[in-house]
């Protein structure tokens, strides 16, 4: 089950279906959110960034947790594919973290009047970005890829313990220093016309992640196993 050829075959076969599903849900969510949901009475139209910012931020954290779970699996069961999953997920996670940061910053400009505010969510997202950077940097510095996988697994597992602590302590640090800033996303009660498209967006982002992960997993498998005979047969088609 956990063998690379099996995964490669599965990934190649399901890729178009995953792509279709991801694109449809993603587009529906974003069009609904940006084009058709009602305007917020307090922030105006700029609140529509929520449909990009919040799903990205959620995904950034979820991908990190996903990497930690794969890391744990690769540490305990030595599953090759789990190591490859971490390595393919890391750049995607870093990408969505970057999106969350940039959109948060762009949203901050018209709302707070500055490009950056040390708001709890933005701060912990920034720290998450550093964690991703550490993982990518460590992996790229180790030549032996299986060794790199396990090194990164250790970091990811440590991260999943520390990330909630970081989040908690940043929340608490923020209330300590700025007792009453209103945060971007905590409108007291969102009407269903606003949060339903948000839900669809989150779902679409998740599908998109699965699609992107499968896509990059294929590349990872082939580049690791390029000298194996099954790659010669299935990929190079000799």
């Amino acid at each position: 089950m956990g063998s690379p050829p099996h995964f490669y075959k599965w990934a190649t076969r399901s890729l178009p279906w995953l792509a279709g599903l991801a694109v449809i849900v993603f587009c529906v969510g974003l069009t609904w959110g940006i084009g058709f949901s009602p305007t917020d009475y307090k922030q105006g139209d700029v609140y529509r960034i929520i449909y990009i910012h919040v799903p990205s931020a959620i995904l950034a954290e979820s991908i990190y947790i996903f990497m930690a779970i794969s890391g744990f699996i690769s540490m305990v069961w030595r599953a090759k594919i789990a190591g490859m999953l971490i390595n393919s997920a890391a750049p995607i996670g870093a990408g969505f973290t970057l999106v969350a940061l940039l959109t948060g910053s762009i949203w901050g400009k018209p709302t707070w009047g500055t490009w950056w505010v040390w708001d709890a969510r933005l701060t912990s997202t920034l720290i998450l970005f550093f964690l991703y950077a550490a993982i990518i940097g460590l992996h790229s510095s180790i030549e032996n890829k299986t060794k790199g996988d396990r090194a990164v697994a250790i970091l990811a597992v440590l991260g999943v313990v520390i990330v909630p602590i970081i989040k908690k302590s940043v929340d608490w640090w923020q209330t300590l220093h700025q007792p009453s800033t209103f945060t971007l996303t905590s409108s007291p009660s969102m009407p269903p016309e606003m949060y339903l498209p948000l839900l669809v967006c989150v779902l679409g982002f998740y599908f998109l992640f699965i699609f992107m992960l499968t896509n990059s997993l294929r590349g990872e498998i082939i580049s690791r196993e390029r000298d194996k005979s099954w790659v010669k047969k299935q990929f190079f088609k000799y």
Partner: protein, 51 residues
């Protein structure tokens, strides 16, 4: 119809913010999708050259 599209685009002057966000999202997704494809292509080229 055209009017409402224009309204949507401008969004009370806040349009550029929203559209910039969307653009960033799409660029990041695109880069992440294209890199594995380029990688596979390169491996394929190197692999077939060896023969």
């Amino acid at each position: 119809m055209l009017d409402s599209l224009q309204l949507l685009f401008i969004m009370d002057g806040k349009g550029p913010y929203v559209w910039a966000c969307l653009l960033i999202l799409i660029i990041v997704i695109f880069i992440n999708l294209i890199i594995p494809v380029i990688r596979l292509k390169r491996i394929y080229r190197e692999g077939t050259l060896e023969e």
